[in-house]
């Protein structure tokens, strides 16, 4: 784990150095692109100002992501078990990804007000799709030889599902999870633009509208950090759950 992170961290550091040097060299004003040092400085000095924003967003992400993947998995499972329903609802699923949130916003507000519900809904909307699609595809591509075996053994649909298809789809499910996790953070930030009193998204729009580009980047910094943490958790879970996989061995 530790040795593995040396490489990406060095790449990051190189990028940061190039960034720093070029902002200084070309004398780029802070409001166009603040140098990394400026951002870090603001991140440290402003900590007291924005820490409650981060806390609020993290809560939102965690709950939204949990709901999102649950919904995604349930949808995937239901659609897989009931192919008729899949045929009927799959197009709707796709459509759901194409309702621009900006348009949905007023409706959500009318229906749910400015509380936490519409925000969770948006995160869910953003999260559930990748996991649902990946899981459905994963479930459908189960090794047919094993399916045949299970059928001959008299396994019920439910048993085939729980004992074979589900574990078989796990690698693909994790692809979806990774994508979902990545989007959940972004989804939370977007949802905060829908009307919130705190959160990274709020902090960012305020910073943006008062031309504090350095603060905008502090917000981005935290968004990224959050996202990487989430991603790392998913990858760790993948490692544990897929430990049987032979492909892991000779690498």
């Amino acid at each position: 784990m530790f040795r593995k992170s040396i490489l990406p961290i060095s790449v990051m550091i190189i990028i940061l150095i190039i960034w720093e040097v070029s902002t200084r060299f070309f004398d780029i004003p802070t409001w166009v692109l603040p140098a990394p040092t400026v951002i870090i400085q603001e991140a440290i000095s402003g900590w007291d100002n924005y820490q409650h924003h981060i806390l609020s967003t993290v809560t939102l992400i965690v709950s939204g992501f949990a709901i999102g993947i649950s919904v995604g998995l349930i949808i995937a499972i239901v659609l897989h078990i009931l192919p008729k329903i899949r045929e009927a609802l799959y197009p709707l699923l796709i459509m759901s990804q194409n309702i621009p949130i900006i348009v949905l916003a007023p409706l959500l507000v009318i229906w749910f007000g400015f509380g936490v519900t519409p925000k969770l809904l948006i995160i869910t909307l953003v999260c559930f799709f990748p996991i649902a699609v990946s899981t459905i595809d994963g479930l459908r591509h189960t090794n047919p030889e094993l399916i045949h075996y299970m059928k001959m053994a008299g396994a019920s649909k439910r048993q085939i599902f729980t004992k074979l298809e589900l574990p078989y789809a796990v690698p693909q499910m994790f692809s979806g999870l990774k994508i979902s996790a990545t989007y959940s953070v972004m989804g939370a930030v977007i949802s905060e633009w829908l009307g919130a009193n705190q959160g990274i998204g709020v902090y960012m729009t305020l910073a943006s509208s008062s031309f504090r580009t350095d603060r905008v980047f502090v917000a981005i910094l935290f968004i990224m950090i959050l996202c990487l943490i989430f991603f790392a958790i998913i990858i760790a879970a993948e490692k544990i759950i897929l430990k049987w996989h032979p492909s892991k061995e000779d690498q």
Binding site: P29, T30, W31, V32, I102, A105, P106, V109, I110, G113, F114, E192, W193, L194, G195, A196, N197, V202, T205, L206, S209, S210, F211, R212
Partner: protein
């Protein structure tokens, strides 16, 4: 202008709007449609900025001109962003706090105990407080929620009681819909809040290196707004034709309301005064909305307005 200019000699400039086209921008579309720009030797592209906003784009030189607000320019300048206001589109602040009549908000004192829907900027509570102080109440009694991109009509359906609108657009829409609203104009309660919104901006590089272009541009724009003042209905037609996706009825009604406000009591269209700029900057500074004081003289100029 020199009408004989052939097309390839036209100087290309970009103008970035503040948001979607509306009757604040009519003069620009009139100038374009009636080829006033061409007559000045300019080829103007009008661009909607979307999420990007105009200010940074103009300041960085990606666009020559933009539409902004005094408040934005003030804030930008105190962050060393080289934005300059070169004309006030509307002489007096036409914005204010609106509420459906059934909410019974007729004066700032009625704000107390109600819910305000805004976009979360610190300036909002400062302004509300300034109004309420006049009637010995305080913003502390107002519940402020952030309603993000939600529009006025949607917001007041739910938890929100009043919001900040431009009467010239949202107020007129309310009239057209038959929704009765009470309007509390900022200007009715505080001199200092009579700031310019919107304004036309350019950047310092332009003012230093290309004053001629700015002059030509402003000459054309002035003619455009003059026409819009003189003939609101024709101007509205031009806007509606240039941007067919706007609601024509709203454009006409709004234009009728806005046209007299463009120049209003000023000597000429676009005139800005030091007093207005310093008043509002003071207000902002006093309310901790600025990190330092504004150099008022550098923030705007009337020098490019035609005589």
């Amino acid at each position: 202008g020199n009408e004989e200019n052939t097309e390839e000699e036209l100087e290309e400039v970009t103008l970035v709007l503040d948001w979607t086209p509306n009757t604040n921008h009519t003069g620009l579309y009139v100038a374009e449609s009636k080829e006033y720009f061409e007559e000045e030797g300019l080829d103007v592209e009008i661009v909607m900025p979307g999420e990007a906003g105009a200010d940074q784009t103009v300041a960085s030189g990606q666009a020559e001109f933009g539409i902004s607000y005094q408040e934005q320019v003030t804030e930008a300048r105190t962050q060393d962003i080289p934005l300059v206001s070169i004309a006030a589109v509307i002489q007096h602040n036409t914005s204010g706090f609106a509420a459906p009549v059934e909410k019974e908000i007729t004066s700032p004192a009625d704000f107390a105990g109600k819910t305000y829907g805004g976009w979360g900027a610190p300036v909002e509570s400062a302004v509300i407080d300034a109004l309420m102080k006049q009637q010995d109440t305080s913003v502390e009694d107002v519940e402020i929620v952030n309603m993000g991109n939600t529009d006025f009509f949607t917001a007041v359906k739910r938890d929100v009681d009043f919001a900040w609108i431009y009467y010239g657009w949202t107020g007129i829409e309310a009239e057209l819909r038959g929704t009765e609203i009470d309007m509390i104009y900022l200007t009715d309660y505080s001199e200092k809040l009579d700031y310019y919104t919107p304004v036309i901006t350019t950047n310092e590089t332009m003012t230093e290196e290309n004053p001629e272009t700015i002059k030509k541009f402003m000459a054309a724009v002035s003619r455009g707004y003059q026409d819009a003042i003189d003939n609101p209905s024709e101007a509205a037609d031009i806007l509606a034709e240039a941007v067919p996706d706007l609601d024509e009825e709203l454009v006409h009604a709004s234009q009728k309301w806005v046209s007299p406000k463009y120049q209003d009591d000023a000597d000429r269209w676009g005139e800005q005064s030091t007093e207005v700029w310093s008043n509002y900057a003071e207000f902002m500074f006093e309310n901790d909305l600025l990190e330092r004081e504004l150099d008022v003289e550098a923030a705007f100029t009337n020098e490019f307005l035609p005589e």
